[in-house]
C-alpha cells in the first residue's frame, strides 16, 4: 500500500498570508518557510489525518479548481517529499 503522510501538529505552526506567497513559521526548528501553491493548500486539506498522495489529491480537487496539465497526484507526492525533507510533514509508517 502507498505511503501515508501527516502534517506537523497545528500548534507547531504559525501561518501568515502575504500577497503572493504564504509564510509558515515552524516553532520546533525556529525556521521561517515561504510556501508557494500548492504547498499551503496541501497542508490545509491534510488537517490531522494520515493520508496518501492520492487521497490528498482528491481532497484538493474537491475543494479547488485544479489548474494543472500534469498528473496532480504526482505533483502532490513531489510536494509531500519536499515538505517532509523540511520536517513540515512526516511520513507515517504503517
Amino acid at each position: 500500500m502507498s505511503l501515508k503522510y501527516r502534517a506537523a501538529p497545528k500548534d507547531d505552526l504559525i501561518w501568515h498570508d502575504l500577497d503572493s506567497m504564504t509564510l509558515l513559521f515552524h516553532r520546533p526548528s525556529g525556521i521561517t518557510h515561504m510556501l508557494a501553491e500548492p504547498a499551503p493548500a496541501i497542508m490545509e486539506v491534510m488537517q490531522d489525518a494520515s493520508l496518501t498522495a492520492g487521497e490528498i489529491a482528491s481532497r484538493l480537487s474537491a475543494q479547488f479548481d485544479i489548474e494543472s496539465t500534469a498528473d496532480a497526484e504526482n505533483i502532490v507526492l513531489a510536494r509531500l517529499e519536499e515538505l517532509s525533507g523540511l520536517g513540515l510533514v512526516a511520513r507515517v509508517s504503517s
Partner: protein, 138 residues
C-alpha cells in the same frame, strides 16, 4: 536563501478578495519546481556591512595545500596546481576577481583557481562568512 527563489509571477496564488462566489483556483506548478524556500540567517549582511573581512587561500584547515584549476585543495607540489596564496584576500579584492579582474599578485589562471576555491567554501571554513557576504546582491 536558496538561489532559486521563485519570481512572483511564477507563483501566483489566487486569493479572491471579498465574498467567495466560486471555488478557488489552485496552481499546481511543475513536479520539479520547488514550492518552499526557507529563510536563512543574514550572516552575510552582518559580515559584509559591519565588518571588513578577508579570505585565506587555502584556509587554516588545509594550510599548505595547493589549489588546482577547479579550486580543489590538492597535495603540495601537485603538477598544474598553484601554491598557497601567501596572503589573505580582502572581500573587495575577491568581489572584483569574481567580476573578471585578477586577484592581486596572481596570474589570471592562478586567480581563477583561487576564485574557484573560494566559491567552494562552506560554512565552518575560514573565509566562509566573508565569502557569503559577497553573495549578497548589491
Amino acid at each position: 536563501m536558496k538561489d532559486h527563489l521563485p519570481s512572483e509571477s511564477s507563483v501566483q496564488s489566487d486569493q479572491t478578495n471579498g465574498i467567495v462566489t466560486r471555488r478557488r483556483a489552485l496552481m499546481m506548478g511543475a513536479i520539479t519546481a520547488s514550492a518552499v524556500v526557507s529563510i536563512k540567517p543574514a550572516l552575510a549582511q552582518t559580515a559584509g556591512s559591519v565588518l571588513n573581512c578577508e579570505i585565506p587561500v587555502p584556509g587554516n584547515n588545509a594550510m599548505g595545500g595547493y589549489i588546482d584549476a577547479n579550486g580543489k585543495v590538492v597535495a603540495a607540489d601537485t603538477p598544474g596546481a598553484f601554491p598557497p596564496a601567501g596572503r589573505n584576500f580582502t572581500g573587495e579584492e575577491v568581489r572584483r576577481a569574481m567580476n573578471g579582474r585578477t586577484l592581486p599578485g596572481t596570474t589570471p589562471d592562478q586567480s581563477q583557481a583561487y576564485v574557484n576555491y573560494i566559491r567552494r567554501l562552506q560554512s565552518g571554513q575560514s573565509g566562509f562568512t566573508c565569502y557569503a557576504s559577497l553573495q549578497m546582491p548589491r
